[in-house]
Subunit: 281 residues, 4 copies
């Protein structure tokens, strides 16, 4: 007899903009929210009995209402409020996952009511709330970064299919994805996000890189050493290869001047770094 | 002292087309391959010691070479060969993950050498190979399907934020993602993929749906009941809402004729269905 | 004094699905409509006087209403009705452009109410209506096609920057965009679309190609010779290069077996072919 | 007899990064180049005679070589050099079009060799070179901007399908595309681009908007009045509607606080503004 081994459902891509015009400049927060519920829903699957199924349309309404009624200044705070809303009122729900992405809007000049968002960088958060407690992670997505010096890749393992030349000076480009876990739930999330992001960028910029792995680890360590309330950090750094163009065919040199950036194939490196070996996922 | 809790690296988006012109019609297989390795790589992260790091560029070369030299007729067979290649020659690697997507090309008319691919549907496979063995899953991605009858959603849980009306007759549209696990490694993967896909579509079409959950389960059961070599199936079915347009404002009726398809917000339902409650992930 | 040299405004991406359940199988038409108006709108720009500005929201409503009330069986017929609607009621409008894209839905098996759309191919139409008359074009977008034989590229112009080898046997892949103009406004558009598409595919498949240009022209001629009511056809055929992988580095041959398909850089060829040299655009 | 009414061919999406490490900070320019040729190519189409056809692969090589050998500090200067290269050496070519997009990289902190590009904004240029001369346009693409005050839309034309309420206070969001034409070919393109962009943003921010059209015109006028070397400016401003959420259903007010940003359907407004009525395109 077939059985459900796991299941979840909810609403994704609930977008909203909150404007606070009581400030100068106005504050604009643009979010995309996803909510997923787990719990006792098997009768819906097996029998078509929807009596335990809160419509996902209602979840969407709840997001709008909570964005209006809760006092929140960070996506982590809003996410916590959304998670508690469903956990509190649905006794058959065992876990609520809330993911929120924020796209940063920047003031135009000194105008209090005009903003631009030229970016694909996203501030992210992910909350997992159960009857036992809540875990909060924050992150960054879509942050494209590049080093024009201080990056090597040599001394690697070679076999008969290896054609890559060693290099002590290459372009190092990636689209950073980061996600870190906090030790507590009542923190200054906006400030912490700013600080973690700054440390990641600083370590990326300063590190004498012997590989993507090497720099990824240095960036993670840089955060863990400085920010006590971060217990673990996950970084994914695809290697967006920039290929040096062979101009010798045309009688020209190319001393690391002209590169072709490529999207595919792409290297990929990810790691999760913690404070100790315990709690390995 | 910071430690690595988990890590993996490899090459993604290695695209290739294999043409077999010994057949009539020619056979065209277009693939995108991703390979990720896990194992003893900590010295690369911590010390910048690359002596254990096979370049991802070499992985790319290996894909091309193996696609040429192996005898393979399915992405599952090629994936197995790729996984074994790395596991056999890299003793410090404990796990190789290979994901392959295939985009279907169809013959144009009766022409033996002309093909069209109008589709976003993807045939997928995912192989996880360790020293202990290999697990093989196959799947479908990007398959957009729609029911114009036989779909209801009523009797659901309501609270004060619920505004969705009940309905016994709605459009049901989704973009199906499916992934199923096989009991063995030496199977007729092409035939099985064809059969699972046909069963999923048939059950979707025939089912008197009381909810997305209800139909998802029926589709999964349809596969598990008929295909013995499938041990578990995962289905994700976002609810791509089609909203009935309110034409009463303009003095017109709209008896399920004109709908607005929407991309966001989107419902989302996923479940993993097995043959019994054991081995819960 | 700055002046407006040209302007237009309207609504884009008005999506709708029309379901006709009186047929067996049901008929599903999914459209995306764009409407742009030109005419006497300068006071809106210069003075902020909106008295001539029909809201684009009203255009959206009109699309839904007309899709419900008009008898239409093709996007060309619906487009004509939409164009006339605005031209008839807005005397200050001199030109209405309507573009409609249709995504094809296919019946699943013999089920009368279940459909799949695995495709990115789009049927398109573009109508330009003025007080003097209406021009109707139909087209195809997003049709990815490939030839595995019968394609050469040799004898081309070379200079000192040319490194491309000549070839008499290559893969020829493109994503076809086509648009053709009809001689009249009261035609069997569905049948004509089917016939033009079939001719384009047949000529693509059969042609002994000496270049993309060569095949593009043959495809256009194939349509113009067979379909009297087409007066002109535009084809755009990006050359989606498939690069033969150099396996000699690994002691292997590669007799047109393993290719790397690439998205960028991309060749691009477009031409507009008519019945004679007159009416050059 | 079918004839070619117009045709062009070339290479698109030729991407490159140029790094200048002689400066502090290093300078990074990332470009995507497209080249299209027009001229005497009919024998290629009609007869498959490629003797006049320079391979698009050679065009790609030329871009890399010219990016290395020319002294250029703006995409307009590089584009001019590329256009002249082909016009000078190919006597059968009558027109060369070059389009270049630049994605802006910003220094990270004070680091001389680390950069981030969080943006989708693109600096663009388009050059059309013929035997008679060259026209140069510059532009902006993908610049998402938003006003939280100073935007109304009222007094518009209404018919029986109009349901949009009038408003004197709405969110105004768009993704600006701009393209302007220069009076000359030997200008300080980097400085001019900076100045035009700043004026567009300033006028957008300051303008008391009565409609998108109204603000679009004010932005164009702002540029034409201040920058003598711009002769014409084209602006496209899709209206990315932000819908005020109806919270009254839940007993809440919503005084322009919570909005839903939408991608479709989308308003669309474009206009070309010049210094006088002459030279209408």
């Amino acid at each position: 007899m077939p059985v459900i081994r796991s299941d979840k459902y909810g609403k994704t891509r609930v977008r909203l903009i909150r404007v606070d015009r009581s400030r100068a400049p106005h504050e604009v927060k643009e979010l995309s929210v996803a909510i997923l519920l787990e719990g006792d829903f098997s009768s819906a699957y097996v029998d078509g009995d929807n009596s335990n199924v809160l419509p996902t349309d209602t979840m969407k309404n709840a997001v709008y209402v909570l964005a209006r009624t809760l006092a929140w200044d960070s996506i982590e705070a809003l996410g916590g409020g959304i998670a508690r809303h469903f956990l509190d009122r649905l006794s058959h729900v065992s876990q609520v996952s809330v993911e929120i992405e924020e796209g940063p809007w920047h003031q135009i000049g000194q105008h209090i009511a005009a903003f631009l968002q030229s970016g694909m960088e996203r501030r992210t958060s992910r909350l997992i709330a159960t009857r036992a407690g809540i875990s909060i992670t924050s992150g960054i997505g879509g942050l494209r970064i590049l080093k024009t010096a201080g990056s090597a890749f040599a001394g690697f393992l070679k076999d008969e299919l290896t054609t890559l030349p060693e290099t002590n000076d290459r372009l190092f480009a990636t689209v950073l994805q980061a996600e870190w876990t906090y030790a507590g739930n009542d923190l200054s999330f906006n400030e912490l996000h700013h600080d973690v992001r700054a440390l990641l960028l600083e370590r990326f910029a300063e590190h004498e890189s012997l590989s993507v792995q090497h720099t990824l680890f240095a960036m993670a360590v840089g955060v863990l050493e400085k920010i006590d309330s971060v217990t673990e950090i996950y970084l994914a750094m695809p290697n967006k290869h920039c290929l040096l163009v062979d101009l010798a065919r045309f009688g020209l040199d190319n001393p690391n001047v002209i590169f072709v950036p490529t999207d595919e194939p792409s290297g990929y490196i990810e790691a999760r770094i913690g404070r100790d070996a315990a709690n390995v996922r």
